[in-house]
Symmetry: C2
Protein backbone atom coordinates (compact mmCIF):
# COMPACT_ATOMS: atom_id res chain seq x y z
CA UNK A 1 0.00 0.00 0.00
CA UNK A 2 1.36 3.42 -0.96
CA UNK A 3 1.58 5.91 1.86
CA UNK A 4 1.04 9.58 1.16
CA UNK A 5 2.43 12.40 3.22
CA UNK A 6 0.01 15.19 4.06
CA UNK A 7 1.59 18.40 2.78
CA UNK A 8 1.10 21.12 5.38
CA UNK A 9 2.72 23.73 3.13
CA UNK A 10 1.19 23.21 -0.34
CA UNK A 11 2.43 25.42 -3.21
CA UNK A 12 2.68 25.63 -7.02
CA UNK A 13 -1.10 25.70 -6.96
CA UNK A 14 -3.52 26.39 -9.81
CA UNK A 15 -5.13 29.55 -8.43
CA UNK A 16 -3.92 32.12 -5.88
CA UNK A 17 -4.41 30.83 -2.31
CA UNK A 18 -4.10 32.89 0.84
CA UNK A 19 -1.29 32.76 3.35
CA UNK A 20 -0.88 29.66 5.53
CA UNK A 21 0.23 30.54 9.07
CA UNK A 22 3.60 29.05 9.93
CA UNK A 23 3.21 25.67 11.66
CA UNK A 24 6.78 25.44 13.00
CA UNK A 25 8.67 27.43 15.63
CA UNK A 26 11.28 29.90 14.40
CA UNK A 27 13.42 29.33 17.53
CA UNK A 28 13.54 25.65 18.48
CA UNK A 29 15.61 26.00 21.66
CA UNK A 30 14.26 27.26 24.90
CA UNK A 31 15.72 30.63 25.61
CA UNK A 32 17.44 30.91 28.95
CA UNK A 33 17.31 34.21 30.73
CA UNK A 34 20.55 36.13 30.38
CA UNK A 35 21.36 34.82 26.92
CA UNK A 36 22.64 31.59 25.48
CA UNK A 37 26.34 32.16 25.24
CA UNK A 38 25.98 32.57 21.48
CA UNK A 39 23.18 35.08 21.33
CA UNK A 40 21.74 37.54 23.82
CA UNK A 41 18.14 37.13 24.89
CA UNK A 42 17.28 40.23 22.83
CA UNK A 43 18.91 38.80 19.74
CA UNK A 44 16.93 35.56 20.08
CA UNK A 45 13.71 37.53 20.54
CA UNK A 46 14.56 39.73 17.55
CA UNK A 47 15.17 36.69 15.35
CA UNK A 48 11.96 35.04 16.46
CA UNK A 49 9.96 38.19 15.69
CA UNK A 50 11.68 39.28 12.47
CA UNK A 51 13.19 36.15 10.93
CA UNK A 52 16.72 37.50 10.55
CA UNK A 53 19.79 38.75 12.43
CA UNK A 54 22.65 40.90 11.11
CA UNK A 55 26.11 41.07 12.63
CA UNK A 56 28.52 43.74 11.40
CA UNK A 57 32.17 42.65 11.20
CA UNK A 58 31.61 39.08 12.41
CA UNK A 59 34.84 38.27 10.55
CA UNK A 60 38.06 40.28 10.81
CA UNK A 61 39.65 42.21 7.96
CA UNK A 62 42.41 39.62 7.74
CA UNK A 63 39.97 36.74 7.45
CA UNK A 64 37.92 38.62 4.86
CA UNK A 65 40.98 39.40 2.77
CA UNK A 66 41.81 35.68 2.70
CA UNK A 67 38.28 34.80 1.51
CA UNK A 68 38.33 37.56 -1.10
CA UNK A 69 41.55 36.24 -2.61
CA UNK A 70 40.05 32.77 -2.83
CA UNK A 71 36.91 34.20 -4.40
CA UNK A 72 38.91 35.95 -7.10
CA UNK A 73 41.00 32.85 -7.78
CA UNK A 74 37.89 30.73 -8.23
CA UNK A 75 36.23 33.27 -10.50
CA UNK A 76 39.19 33.43 -12.84
CA UNK A 77 39.80 29.70 -12.98
CA UNK A 78 38.96 28.06 -16.29
CA UNK A 79 37.91 24.92 -14.43
CA UNK A 80 35.27 26.99 -12.67
CA UNK A 81 33.72 28.22 -15.91
CA UNK A 82 33.40 24.69 -17.26
CA UNK A 83 31.88 23.25 -14.11
CA UNK A 84 28.21 22.33 -13.97
CA UNK A 85 28.16 23.72 -10.45
CA UNK A 86 28.52 27.22 -11.82
CA UNK A 87 25.75 29.58 -12.89
CA UNK A 88 26.49 32.39 -15.35
CA UNK A 89 24.89 35.84 -15.53
CA UNK A 90 21.91 35.95 -17.95
CA UNK A 91 23.19 36.74 -21.45
CA UNK A 92 26.85 36.72 -20.42
CA UNK A 93 29.74 34.37 -19.65
CA UNK A 94 30.41 36.08 -16.33
CA UNK A 95 30.27 33.84 -13.26
CA UNK A 96 27.22 34.53 -11.09
CA UNK A 97 27.31 31.70 -8.55
CA UNK A 98 29.47 28.71 -7.67
CA UNK A 99 27.72 25.93 -5.74
CA UNK A 100 28.93 23.33 -3.28
CA UNK A 101 31.94 25.33 -2.13
CA UNK A 102 31.65 23.70 1.30
CA UNK A 103 32.85 20.51 -0.39
CA UNK A 104 34.93 21.60 -3.34
CA UNK A 105 37.07 24.25 -1.69
CA UNK A 106 39.16 23.81 1.46
CA UNK A 107 38.93 27.43 2.63
CA UNK A 108 35.16 27.63 2.26
CA UNK A 109 34.80 24.14 3.75
CA UNK A 110 36.56 25.39 6.85
CA UNK A 111 34.48 28.58 6.98
CA UNK A 112 31.30 26.48 6.89
CA UNK A 113 32.36 24.93 10.21
CA UNK A 114 33.25 28.21 11.92
CA UNK A 115 31.82 28.32 15.46
CA UNK A 116 30.59 31.89 15.02
CA UNK A 117 28.11 30.52 12.51
CA UNK A 118 27.49 26.94 13.54
CA UNK A 119 26.89 27.64 17.23
CA UNK A 120 24.23 30.21 16.33
CA UNK A 121 22.30 28.02 13.89
CA UNK A 122 22.60 24.90 16.08
CA UNK A 123 21.19 26.84 18.99
CA UNK A 124 18.29 28.34 17.04
CA UNK A 125 17.41 24.99 15.44
CA UNK A 126 18.17 23.09 18.68
CA UNK A 127 19.93 20.26 16.90
CA UNK A 128 22.97 19.22 14.95
CA UNK A 129 22.96 20.63 11.42
CA UNK A 130 24.15 19.68 7.96
CA UNK A 131 24.64 21.83 4.88
CA UNK A 132 21.70 21.74 2.50
CA UNK A 133 23.32 24.08 0.00
CA UNK A 134 26.33 26.37 -0.23
CA UNK A 135 27.41 28.87 -2.80
CA UNK A 136 29.43 31.91 -3.63
CA UNK A 137 27.45 34.73 -5.26
CA UNK A 138 29.28 37.22 -7.41
CA UNK A 139 27.13 40.23 -8.05
CA UNK A 140 29.32 42.15 -10.45
CA UNK A 141 29.44 45.93 -10.52
CA UNK A 142 27.53 47.80 -13.29
CA UNK A 143 25.62 44.77 -14.54
CA UNK A 144 24.40 42.87 -11.47
CA UNK A 145 20.83 41.78 -12.08
CA UNK A 146 17.95 41.98 -9.66
CA UNK A 147 16.59 38.88 -7.90
CA UNK A 148 12.85 38.99 -7.27
CA UNK A 149 11.26 38.32 -3.87
CA UNK A 150 11.05 34.70 -2.81
CA UNK A 151 10.97 32.37 0.18
CA UNK A 152 13.78 29.82 -0.08
CA UNK A 153 11.72 27.33 1.89
CA UNK A 154 8.99 27.42 -0.74
CA UNK A 155 11.47 26.13 -3.32
CA UNK A 156 13.30 23.72 -1.00
CA UNK A 157 10.01 22.28 0.16
CA UNK A 158 8.44 21.92 -3.28
CA UNK A 159 11.46 21.03 -5.36
CA UNK A 160 13.73 19.31 -2.81
CA UNK A 161 11.31 17.80 -0.29
CA UNK A 162 12.43 19.74 2.79
CA UNK A 163 9.61 18.78 5.18
CA UNK A 164 9.46 21.59 7.73
CA UNK A 165 10.76 25.09 8.39
CA UNK A 166 13.88 24.19 10.34
CA UNK A 167 16.73 25.63 8.31
CA UNK A 168 18.71 28.87 8.41
CA UNK A 169 20.77 30.63 5.76
CA UNK A 170 23.91 32.52 6.62
CA UNK A 171 25.23 35.04 4.11
CA UNK A 172 28.73 36.39 4.74
CA UNK A 173 29.49 39.53 2.75
CA UNK A 174 32.86 39.62 1.04
CA UNK A 175 32.46 43.17 -0.22
CA UNK A 176 30.84 46.22 1.28
CA UNK A 177 27.07 46.19 1.01
CA UNK A 178 25.57 49.64 0.62
CA UNK A 179 22.34 51.18 -0.61
CA UNK A 180 23.73 51.48 -4.15
CA UNK A 181 25.00 47.99 -4.97
CA UNK A 182 21.85 45.91 -4.65
CA UNK A 183 22.10 44.60 -1.08
CA UNK A 184 20.02 41.71 0.21
CA UNK A 185 16.57 43.03 1.17
CA UNK A 186 14.37 41.22 3.68
CA UNK A 187 10.76 41.64 4.76
CA UNK A 188 10.81 41.46 8.59
CA UNK A 189 8.21 39.06 9.99
CA UNK A 190 7.46 37.43 6.63
CA UNK A 191 8.79 34.08 7.93
CA UNK A 192 5.58 33.74 9.95
CA UNK A 193 3.44 33.15 6.84
CA UNK A 194 3.77 30.52 4.16
CA UNK A 195 2.69 31.86 0.78
CA UNK A 196 1.56 29.25 -1.76
CA UNK A 197 2.72 30.27 -5.23
CA UNK A 198 0.83 29.80 -8.47
CA UNK A 199 2.02 27.55 -11.32
CA UNK A 200 2.99 23.94 -11.86
CA UNK A 201 6.74 23.33 -11.75
CA UNK A 202 8.28 22.11 -15.02
CA UNK A 203 10.92 19.35 -15.13
CA UNK A 204 14.51 20.58 -14.65
CA UNK A 205 13.24 23.93 -13.50
CA UNK A 206 16.51 24.55 -11.64
CA UNK A 207 18.42 25.03 -14.89
CA UNK A 208 16.51 28.27 -15.39
CA UNK A 209 15.42 29.30 -11.91
CA UNK A 210 18.90 30.01 -10.63
CA UNK A 211 19.24 32.64 -13.34
CA UNK A 212 15.71 33.93 -13.46
CA UNK A 213 12.80 32.68 -11.38
CA UNK A 214 9.50 31.99 -13.20
CA UNK A 215 7.89 29.56 -10.73
CA UNK A 216 7.68 29.88 -6.97
CA UNK A 217 7.10 33.60 -7.50
CA UNK A 218 4.91 35.33 -4.88
CA UNK A 219 1.97 37.38 -6.15
CA UNK A 220 1.98 41.16 -5.90
CA UNK A 221 -0.95 41.58 -3.51
CA UNK A 222 0.58 39.18 -0.99
CA UNK A 223 3.96 40.91 -1.19
CA UNK A 224 2.28 44.25 -0.69
CA UNK A 225 0.56 42.86 2.41
CA UNK A 226 3.80 41.50 3.86
CA UNK A 227 5.56 44.83 3.29
CA UNK A 228 2.61 46.72 4.79
CA UNK A 229 3.10 44.61 7.94
CA UNK A 230 6.85 44.55 8.24
CA UNK A 231 8.43 47.03 5.84
CA UNK A 232 11.74 46.28 4.13
CA UNK A 233 15.24 46.20 5.59
CA UNK A 234 18.52 45.75 3.80
CA UNK A 235 21.63 44.01 5.02
CA UNK A 236 24.20 46.78 4.71
CA UNK A 237 27.64 46.81 6.23
CA UNK A 238 31.34 46.29 5.61
CA UNK A 239 32.83 43.11 4.17
CA UNK A 240 32.89 40.47 6.90
CA UNK A 241 29.34 41.13 8.08
CA UNK A 242 27.00 38.15 8.38
CA UNK A 243 23.24 37.92 7.95
CA UNK A 244 21.37 34.90 9.32
CA UNK A 245 17.88 34.49 7.96
CA UNK A 246 15.13 32.00 8.49
CA UNK A 247 14.39 29.71 5.53
CA UNK A 248 10.92 31.18 5.00
CA UNK A 249 11.88 34.88 5.26
CA UNK A 250 10.91 36.69 2.05
CA UNK A 251 13.94 38.28 0.44
CA UNK A 252 15.30 39.61 -2.84
CA UNK A 253 17.62 42.25 -4.24
CA UNK A 254 17.61 45.08 -6.75
CA UNK A 255 20.01 45.41 -9.65
CA UNK A 256 23.49 46.86 -9.25
CA UNK A 257 24.57 49.53 -11.74
CA UNK A 258 27.17 50.90 -9.29
CA UNK A 259 30.78 49.93 -10.07
CA UNK A 260 30.97 48.16 -6.70
CA UNK A 261 30.57 44.37 -6.83
CA UNK A 262 28.56 42.64 -4.14
CA UNK A 263 29.94 39.21 -3.42
CA UNK A 264 29.07 36.87 -0.63
CA UNK A 265 29.39 33.30 0.49
CA UNK A 266 26.18 31.64 1.43
CA UNK A 267 25.53 28.50 3.51
CA UNK A 268 22.21 26.87 4.28
CA UNK A 269 22.14 24.86 7.51
CA UNK A 270 19.34 22.38 7.88
CA UNK A 271 18.52 20.45 11.05
CA UNK A 272 19.55 16.79 10.80
CA UNK A 273 16.00 16.08 11.98
CA UNK A 274 14.63 17.81 8.88
CA UNK A 275 16.43 15.85 6.15
CA UNK A 276 14.97 15.79 2.65
CA UNK A 277 12.19 13.43 1.61
CA UNK A 278 10.78 13.13 -1.89
CA UNK A 279 9.92 16.49 -3.49
CA UNK A 280 6.44 17.83 -2.84
CA UNK A 281 5.87 18.72 -6.47
CA UNK A 282 6.40 15.14 -7.61
CA UNK A 283 9.44 15.80 -9.77
CA UNK A 284 12.78 14.02 -9.74
CA UNK A 285 15.24 15.42 -7.19
CA UNK A 286 17.43 18.39 -8.07
CA UNK A 287 21.15 17.64 -8.32
CA UNK A 288 23.17 17.02 -5.16
CA UNK A 289 25.16 20.26 -5.59
CA UNK A 290 21.94 22.29 -5.27
CA UNK A 291 20.22 20.21 -2.60
CA UNK A 292 22.39 17.81 -0.63
CA UNK A 293 20.66 14.56 0.28
CA UNK A 294 23.58 13.17 2.22
CA UNK A 295 23.30 14.24 5.86
CA UNK A 296 26.80 14.93 7.12
CA UNK A 297 26.82 16.61 10.53
CA UNK A 298 28.77 19.88 10.60
CA UNK A 299 31.26 19.72 13.48
CA UNK A 300 32.12 23.25 14.61
CA UNK A 301 35.80 24.23 14.58
Amino acid sequence: MMSTILDIYPSRVAVPAGFIPRKDPAVYSEVHSGGTGYLTEDEVAFYEENGYLCFQNLFSEKEVSNYQQELQKLKESEATKRSSEVILEPGSSEVRSIFKVHQSNSIFRRLARDRRIVDVVSFLLNSAVYIHQSRINYKPGMHGKEFFWHSDFETWHMEDGMPRMRAISCSISLSENNEFNGPLMLIPGSHRYFLPCVGETPENHYLQSLRKQDYGVPDGDSLQWLVDQGGIVSAKGPAGSATFFECNTMHGSNSNISPWPRSNVFYVYNSVENALTQSFCGLSPRPEYIATREVEVVEPL
Copy 2:
Protein backbone atom coordinates in the same frame (compact mmCIF):
# COMPACT_ATOMS: atom_id res chain seq x y z
CA MET B 1 30.34 76.73 -49.74
CA MET B 2 29.18 74.49 -46.93
CA SER B 3 30.07 75.59 -43.42
CA THR B 4 30.87 73.04 -40.78
CA ILE B 5 30.56 73.54 -37.06
CA LEU B 6 33.53 72.44 -35.00
CA ASP B 7 32.17 69.94 -32.47
CA ILE B 8 33.80 70.65 -29.13
CA TYR B 9 32.03 67.64 -27.53
CA PRO B 10 32.42 64.75 -30.01
CA SER B 11 30.80 61.42 -29.17
CA ARG B 12 29.51 58.15 -30.70
CA VAL B 13 33.12 57.54 -31.67
CA ALA B 14 34.72 54.41 -33.10
CA VAL B 15 37.14 53.67 -30.28
CA PRO B 16 37.14 54.66 -26.59
CA ALA B 17 38.38 58.23 -26.13
CA GLY B 18 39.31 59.86 -22.87
CA PHE B 19 37.35 62.49 -21.02
CA ILE B 20 37.07 65.98 -22.47
CA PRO B 21 37.16 68.66 -19.77
CA ARG B 22 33.99 70.71 -19.68
CA LYS B 23 34.30 73.87 -21.78
CA ASP B 24 31.27 75.69 -20.34
CA PRO B 25 30.55 77.15 -16.93
CA ALA B 26 28.13 75.27 -14.68
CA VAL B 27 26.90 78.52 -13.13
CA TYR B 28 26.48 81.26 -15.73
CA SER B 29 25.47 84.08 -13.38
CA GLU B 30 27.87 85.92 -11.19
CA VAL B 31 27.22 85.01 -7.61
CA HIS B 32 26.61 87.95 -5.34
CA SER B 33 27.78 87.70 -1.79
CA GLY B 34 24.91 86.97 0.57
CA GLY B 35 22.94 84.87 -1.88
CA THR B 36 20.82 85.53 -4.92
CA GLY B 37 17.33 85.65 -3.52
CA TYR B 38 16.66 82.22 -5.03
CA LEU B 39 19.68 80.31 -3.77
CA THR B 40 22.13 80.88 -0.96
CA GLU B 41 25.77 81.40 -1.82
CA ASP B 42 26.50 77.92 -0.41
CA GLU B 43 23.86 76.33 -2.62
CA VAL B 44 25.30 77.98 -5.71
CA ALA B 45 28.80 76.82 -4.77
CA PHE B 46 27.50 73.30 -4.09
CA TYR B 47 25.81 73.16 -7.48
CA GLU B 48 28.91 74.44 -9.26
CA GLU B 49 31.08 71.82 -7.54
CA ASN B 50 28.71 68.82 -7.64
CA GLY B 51 26.34 69.40 -10.54
CA TYR B 52 23.11 68.97 -8.60
CA LEU B 53 20.94 70.38 -5.80
CA CYS B 54 18.21 68.60 -3.81
CA PHE B 55 15.41 70.36 -1.98
CA GLN B 56 13.20 68.32 0.36
CA ASN B 57 9.53 69.31 0.39
CA LEU B 58 9.83 72.09 -2.19
CA PHE B 59 6.12 71.47 -2.82
CA SER B 60 3.46 71.18 -0.12
CA GLU B 61 1.46 68.04 0.62
CA LYS B 62 -1.62 69.65 -0.88
CA GLU B 63 0.16 70.51 -4.11
CA VAL B 64 1.65 67.03 -4.32
CA SER B 65 -1.72 65.38 -3.79
CA ASN B 66 -3.12 67.38 -6.69
CA TYR B 67 -0.25 66.28 -8.99
CA GLN B 68 -0.59 62.66 -7.88
CA GLN B 69 -4.27 62.59 -8.79
CA GLU B 70 -3.49 63.98 -12.23
CA LEU B 71 -0.72 61.41 -12.64
CA GLN B 72 -3.09 58.56 -11.88
CA LYS B 73 -5.76 59.94 -14.21
CA LEU B 74 -3.29 60.17 -17.07
CA LYS B 75 -1.96 56.67 -16.48
CA GLU B 76 -5.39 55.09 -16.59
CA SER B 77 -6.59 57.03 -19.61
CA GLU B 78 -7.00 54.97 -22.76
CA ALA B 79 -5.99 57.99 -24.83
CA THR B 80 -2.65 57.97 -23.01
CA LYS B 81 -1.91 54.35 -23.92
CA ARG B 82 -2.57 55.02 -27.60
CA SER B 83 -0.47 58.17 -27.76
CA SER B 84 2.89 58.17 -29.52
CA GLU B 85 4.16 60.38 -26.72
CA VAL B 86 3.99 57.47 -24.32
CA ILE B 87 6.71 54.90 -23.63
CA LEU B 88 5.75 51.49 -22.22
CA GLU B 89 7.79 49.27 -19.86
CA PRO B 90 9.94 46.70 -21.74
CA GLY B 91 7.87 43.56 -22.35
CA SER B 92 4.69 45.02 -20.86
CA SER B 93 1.81 47.36 -21.66
CA GLU B 94 2.38 49.36 -18.48
CA VAL B 95 3.02 53.09 -18.95
CA ARG B 96 6.63 54.07 -18.22
CA SER B 97 6.79 57.69 -19.39
CA ILE B 98 4.52 60.33 -20.87
CA PHE B 99 6.26 63.10 -22.78
CA LYS B 100 5.40 66.74 -23.47
CA VAL B 101 3.17 67.14 -20.41
CA HIS B 102 4.17 70.82 -20.26
CA GLN B 103 2.05 71.27 -23.38
CA SER B 104 -0.58 68.54 -23.26
CA ASN B 105 -1.72 68.90 -19.65
CA SER B 106 -2.88 72.10 -17.96
CA ILE B 107 -1.74 71.15 -14.45
CA PHE B 108 1.75 70.14 -15.51
CA ARG B 109 1.94 73.15 -17.85
CA ARG B 110 1.36 75.37 -14.86
CA LEU B 111 3.88 73.49 -12.71
CA ALA B 112 6.52 73.99 -15.42
CA ARG B 113 6.21 77.76 -14.86
CA ASP B 114 6.39 77.62 -11.07
CA ARG B 115 8.75 80.30 -9.72
CA ARG B 116 10.36 77.87 -7.29
CA ILE B 117 11.78 76.09 -10.31
CA VAL B 118 12.07 78.72 -13.01
CA ASP B 119 13.80 81.34 -10.86
CA VAL B 120 16.48 78.83 -9.88
CA VAL B 121 17.27 77.60 -13.39
CA SER B 122 17.10 81.10 -14.91
CA PHE B 123 19.56 82.30 -12.33
CA LEU B 124 22.01 79.43 -12.80
CA LEU B 125 21.85 79.69 -16.60
CA ASN B 126 21.74 83.52 -16.47
CA SER B 127 19.12 83.79 -19.17
CA ALA B 128 15.53 83.21 -20.08
CA VAL B 129 14.76 79.49 -20.54
CA TYR B 130 12.48 77.29 -22.63
CA ILE B 131 11.50 73.67 -22.14
CA HIS B 132 13.60 71.26 -24.15
CA GLN B 133 11.72 68.19 -22.91
CA SER B 134 9.19 67.28 -20.24
CA ARG B 135 7.84 64.01 -19.04
CA ILE B 136 6.20 62.04 -16.31
CA ASN B 137 8.07 58.90 -15.28
CA TYR B 138 6.14 56.08 -13.68
CA LYS B 139 8.49 53.62 -12.07
CA PRO B 140 6.03 50.97 -10.97
CA GLY B 141 6.51 48.94 -7.81
CA MET B 142 7.82 45.33 -8.09
CA HIS B 143 8.79 45.56 -11.75
CA GLY B 144 10.48 48.94 -12.25
CA LYS B 145 13.52 48.43 -14.45
CA GLU B 146 16.96 49.89 -13.97
CA PHE B 147 18.24 52.75 -16.12
CA PHE B 148 21.96 52.63 -16.78
CA TRP B 149 24.32 55.57 -16.19
CA HIS B 150 24.24 58.31 -18.79
CA SER B 151 24.79 62.00 -19.38
CA ASP B 152 21.64 63.57 -20.83
CA PHE B 153 23.76 66.19 -22.56
CA GLU B 154 25.61 63.48 -24.50
CA THR B 155 22.32 62.41 -26.08
CA TRP B 156 20.87 65.89 -26.48
CA HIS B 157 24.08 67.10 -28.09
CA MET B 158 24.53 64.16 -30.44
CA GLU B 159 20.92 63.37 -31.32
CA ASP B 160 19.23 66.76 -30.91
CA GLY B 161 22.00 69.25 -31.69
CA MET B 162 22.11 71.02 -28.31
CA PRO B 163 25.30 73.07 -28.81
CA ARG B 164 26.61 73.71 -25.28
CA MET B 165 26.14 72.65 -21.68
CA ARG B 166 23.61 75.26 -20.64
CA ALA B 167 20.56 73.28 -19.59
CA ILE B 168 19.24 71.98 -16.27
CA SER B 169 16.82 69.18 -15.44
CA CYS B 170 14.40 69.42 -12.57
CA SER B 171 12.85 66.22 -11.27
CA ILE B 172 9.93 66.61 -8.85
CA SER B 173 9.17 63.43 -6.94
CA LEU B 174 5.50 62.49 -6.71
CA SER B 175 6.09 59.50 -4.43
CA GLU B 176 8.56 58.91 -1.64
CA ASN B 177 12.04 58.09 -2.86
CA ASN B 178 13.91 55.73 -0.57
CA GLU B 179 16.84 53.35 -0.78
CA PHE B 180 14.58 50.46 -1.81
CA ASN B 181 12.59 51.81 -4.75
CA GLY B 182 15.32 52.65 -7.22
CA PRO B 183 15.87 56.37 -6.59
CA LEU B 184 17.75 58.63 -8.99
CA MET B 185 21.49 58.18 -8.41
CA LEU B 186 23.99 60.87 -9.37
CA ILE B 187 27.78 60.99 -9.53
CA PRO B 188 28.79 64.28 -7.89
CA GLY B 189 31.25 66.29 -9.96
CA SER B 190 30.75 64.22 -13.11
CA HIS B 191 29.33 67.25 -14.95
CA ARG B 192 32.88 68.62 -15.18
CA TYR B 193 33.92 65.97 -17.72
CA PHE B 194 32.42 65.13 -21.08
CA LEU B 195 32.71 61.44 -21.84
CA PRO B 196 32.64 60.49 -25.53
CA CYS B 197 30.71 57.22 -25.97
CA VAL B 198 31.52 54.45 -28.41
CA GLY B 199 29.26 53.42 -31.29
CA GLU B 200 27.59 55.03 -34.29
CA THR B 201 23.97 56.04 -33.71
CA PRO B 202 21.39 54.18 -35.82
CA GLU B 203 18.41 55.96 -37.43
CA ASN B 204 15.36 56.32 -35.15
CA HIS B 205 17.42 55.31 -32.17
CA TYR B 206 14.96 57.10 -29.85
CA LEU B 207 12.30 54.43 -30.43
CA GLN B 208 14.49 52.01 -28.50
CA SER B 209 16.68 54.21 -26.32
CA LEU B 210 13.86 55.48 -24.12
CA ARG B 211 13.20 51.90 -23.09
CA LYS B 212 16.71 50.53 -23.08
CA GLN B 213 19.84 52.45 -23.96
CA ASP B 214 22.33 50.77 -26.30
CA TYR B 215 24.16 53.83 -27.64
CA GLY B 216 25.49 56.78 -25.71
CA VAL B 217 26.49 54.32 -23.00
CA PRO B 218 29.58 55.26 -20.96
CA ASP B 219 32.33 52.65 -20.67
CA GLY B 220 33.00 50.88 -17.39
CA ASP B 221 36.50 52.20 -16.74
CA SER B 222 35.37 55.81 -17.14
CA LEU B 223 32.40 55.29 -14.84
CA GLN B 224 34.67 53.69 -12.27
CA TRP B 225 36.95 56.73 -12.49
CA LEU B 226 34.09 59.18 -12.03
CA VAL B 227 32.79 57.24 -9.02
CA ASP B 228 36.30 57.05 -7.56
CA GLN B 229 36.40 60.87 -7.73
CA GLY B 230 32.92 61.74 -6.57
CA GLY B 231 31.15 58.68 -5.18
CA ILE B 232 27.42 58.19 -5.67
CA VAL B 233 24.52 60.02 -4.05
CA SER B 234 20.84 59.28 -4.35
CA ALA B 235 17.95 61.72 -4.35
CA LYS B 236 15.89 60.41 -1.45
CA GLY B 237 13.07 62.23 0.25
CA PRO B 238 9.31 62.58 0.58
CA ALA B 239 6.99 63.29 -2.33
CA GLY B 240 7.27 66.94 -3.26
CA SER B 241 11.07 67.04 -3.16
CA ALA B 242 12.90 68.45 -6.15
CA THR B 243 16.29 67.63 -7.62
CA PHE B 244 17.95 70.04 -10.03
CA PHE B 245 20.80 68.54 -12.00
CA GLU B 246 23.15 69.86 -14.62
CA CYS B 247 22.63 68.45 -18.15
CA ASN B 248 26.00 66.66 -18.12
CA THR B 249 25.77 65.11 -14.64
CA MET B 250 26.08 61.33 -14.91
CA HIS B 251 23.00 59.64 -13.47
CA GLY B 252 21.01 56.40 -13.50
CA SER B 253 18.84 54.24 -11.28
CA ASN B 254 18.60 50.66 -10.11
CA SER B 255 15.56 48.44 -10.52
CA ASN B 256 12.63 48.58 -8.13
CA ILE B 257 11.32 45.27 -6.74
CA SER B 258 9.77 47.02 -3.73
CA PRO B 259 6.00 47.44 -3.89
CA TRP B 260 6.48 51.23 -3.74
CA PRO B 261 6.21 53.04 -7.08
CA ARG B 262 8.59 55.87 -7.82
CA SER B 263 6.95 58.50 -9.96
CA ASN B 264 8.17 61.91 -10.86
CA VAL B 265 7.61 64.77 -13.24
CA PHE B 266 10.65 65.92 -15.08
CA TYR B 267 11.35 69.18 -16.93
CA VAL B 268 14.44 70.14 -18.88
CA TYR B 269 15.09 73.87 -19.07
CA ASN B 270 17.45 75.03 -21.77
CA SER B 271 18.80 78.56 -22.14
CA VAL B 272 17.18 80.42 -25.03
CA GLU B 273 20.76 81.22 -26.08
CA ASN B 274 21.45 77.50 -26.46
CA ALA B 275 18.67 76.51 -28.88
CA LEU B 276 19.06 73.37 -30.96
CA THR B 277 21.00 73.27 -34.21
CA GLN B 278 21.31 70.28 -36.50
CA SER B 279 22.19 67.05 -34.68
CA PHE B 280 25.89 66.31 -34.23
CA CYS B 281 25.56 62.71 -35.34
CA GLY B 282 24.15 63.71 -38.74
CA LEU B 283 20.76 62.07 -38.33
CA SER B 284 17.34 63.57 -38.84
CA PRO B 285 15.94 65.38 -35.79
CA ARG B 286 14.10 63.44 -33.09
CA PRO B 287 10.40 64.23 -32.80
CA GLU B 288 9.28 67.52 -31.26
CA TYR B 289 7.80 65.80 -28.18
CA ILE B 290 11.26 64.48 -27.24
CA ALA B 291 13.30 67.52 -28.24
CA THR B 292 11.43 70.78 -28.71
CA ARG B 293 12.79 72.96 -31.51
CA GLU B 294 10.36 75.79 -30.94
CA VAL B 295 11.83 78.23 -28.42
CA GLU B 296 8.99 79.50 -26.26
CA VAL B 297 10.21 81.47 -23.25
CA VAL B 298 8.92 80.15 -19.93
CA GLU B 299 7.35 83.05 -18.02
CA PRO B 300 7.43 82.30 -14.28
CA LEU B 301 4.10 82.35 -12.45
